[in-house]
Amino acid sequence: MTGDQFLFLILAALSTVSSLLVIFQRNIVRSAMALVATLFLVAVLFLTLDAPMVGFLQILVYAGAIMVLFLFVIMLLNSALLEQRQNFWWGFGSLTALLLVIEILFLVSKSFELDGRSPSLSGSFGSPELLAQTLFTDFVLPFEIASLLLLVAIIGAVVLAKRGA
């Protein structure tokens, strides 16, 4: 076993354990924290696969922004314990999970056939440098307009949520 594989096995095992924790925790805040750990570990997996940009975005967007939003909602709703779900959603969830497992098994079996024939990418593909170069040459105007859009959204949030006139 090479070092790479060893690292992969450790990361994979850890992320499986943490994602199981997400499901089996009764305390919703702990569940959310386990989800943070899972997303973080998946980000590290991306790093080991030579995809640093995807890895960092995973941390920034998912572990950073989206999980903070989750925690906000949880704390606003103030319901620390989940009630047991048994009826319709339980069956629906299991069915979806089963379908996803079948899909993964199918894709894995296919990937053995593809062995050695997968397209290769140039070394810098998906690197932060390349992304930054595109973002600040071809797409510099959309980049700036996005900041305008965010400004409008912030003004809107303040105007609509501020108490009193």
């Binding site: 040459t137 797409f139 105007l141 409008v152 003004i155 609509l160």
Partner: protein, 479 residues
Amino acid sequence: METNLTPLLPAAEVTLTALTVLLLDLFLREEEKGFLAWISVTGLALAAGMAFFLWGSQEGAFRNTLLLDDFALFFTEIFLGTALLTILSSIHYLRETNIRSGEYYALILFSTTGMILMAAANDLILFFLGLETMSVGVYILTGMWRERVEASEAAMKYFLIGAFATGFLLYGIALIFGATGSTNLTRISFFLSLSFHQWPLLVIAGVYLVFIGLAFKIGAFPFHFWVPDVYEGAPTPITGFMSVAVKAAAFAGWARIFVHQFSVVEHEWGVPLHALAILTMTVGNLLAIAQSSVKRMLAYSSIAHAGYLLIGVVAGKEPGGSALLFYLLAYAPMTLGAFAVLLALKDGEKDNESYDDFAGVGLKRPFLGMAMSIFMLSLAGFPPLSGFTGKFYLFRSAIVSGYTDLAIIGALNSLLSVIYYLRVIVKMYMEQGGVEAQPFAKAPCLYVAIVIAVLGTVGLGLLPARALSLSGVSYLSLR
């Protein structure tokens, strides 16, 4: 590498005005806030002047993501003019409600920037960002009168449906990028013309998704359900702004993206759009007859007008494209004017928007009665007003391009629309007991807006030649 910033001038000027208004808002006392309206109007007028002097240029900037052509400038002038009239008719309205005026004007200006970028964008990403800047601004403006439950409901509905439509648009853009490897419209259309009618399924699916996203924005059938509730709940000046400027911006997208760049794949989207045009105008007109509120009637009438405008998109090419542009220009003053008259009936916190409120207005306030009659007759398509000339050229373009059925159904629909437009005039002159309208002394700017709208409606009807040639030149400037 040198960057050509000229094409950005009008949009930058409007953004700068918006930021100035936002900042000054912090330093002005409550009774001085009226000043902000004048700054906004000055900024808009300056931008309109810039666009006027840039007329005739043909440049690209930012690696051709942004184009400066007569098409973009034509639409820029429509947006700026609409925003200007909206602000003029808002001054009195804001005094009577407690909407925060600084943010209100700034958001109108930001939305206008988004629209200008939509009309000038030659790249789907920039188009999308322009559309979002416009839409987010208008969502907020819809809900700004927070004490009114209807306004909050309308804003929520508009936001959710708008986000849903954005999903379609963005997914379509992603699929088109996946198939062609570019978001630049020129390159996409080059790719499409190379494929010799063997387009990958991905492109066609992407084109249809963009189609649906844009159909939502103009409120075409069957994506029109949000229109009446949102138009009714929004503050009346914003309803006027939405039904003219937001619609014109979406049609700028239809014209540049579909009529011009995607014309190669026309047999894919042409047939569904043909059906959509017929259904949109018929459904809009039939539902408008059943309304008891004039504001709601105008909302349905705006759906019907989206149907007429789609005739221009279906007819396509030179006659259709320039007729579409001319109709958008002609549609602006009469619609904004009708909403401005509606505003003149507003009394304090109370909106007076039903047909019954209009009873006797024509006898008590002859000017308002005459102006409203002109707007209604023009919307119905009576000569010699702008609505007639606009429809005339639209229907003619349909016949020239071989869509006689569209012209006939359009004409029948115009007849149908006479029922509900004339009802307003009948109420105003033949019945009694409506509300008192605001006199000139209390809302001078509103009256100025109405006068401008009357001049525009009559002027474009009597002397359409100049405007018509300008819209032809604008359409032909598309590259």
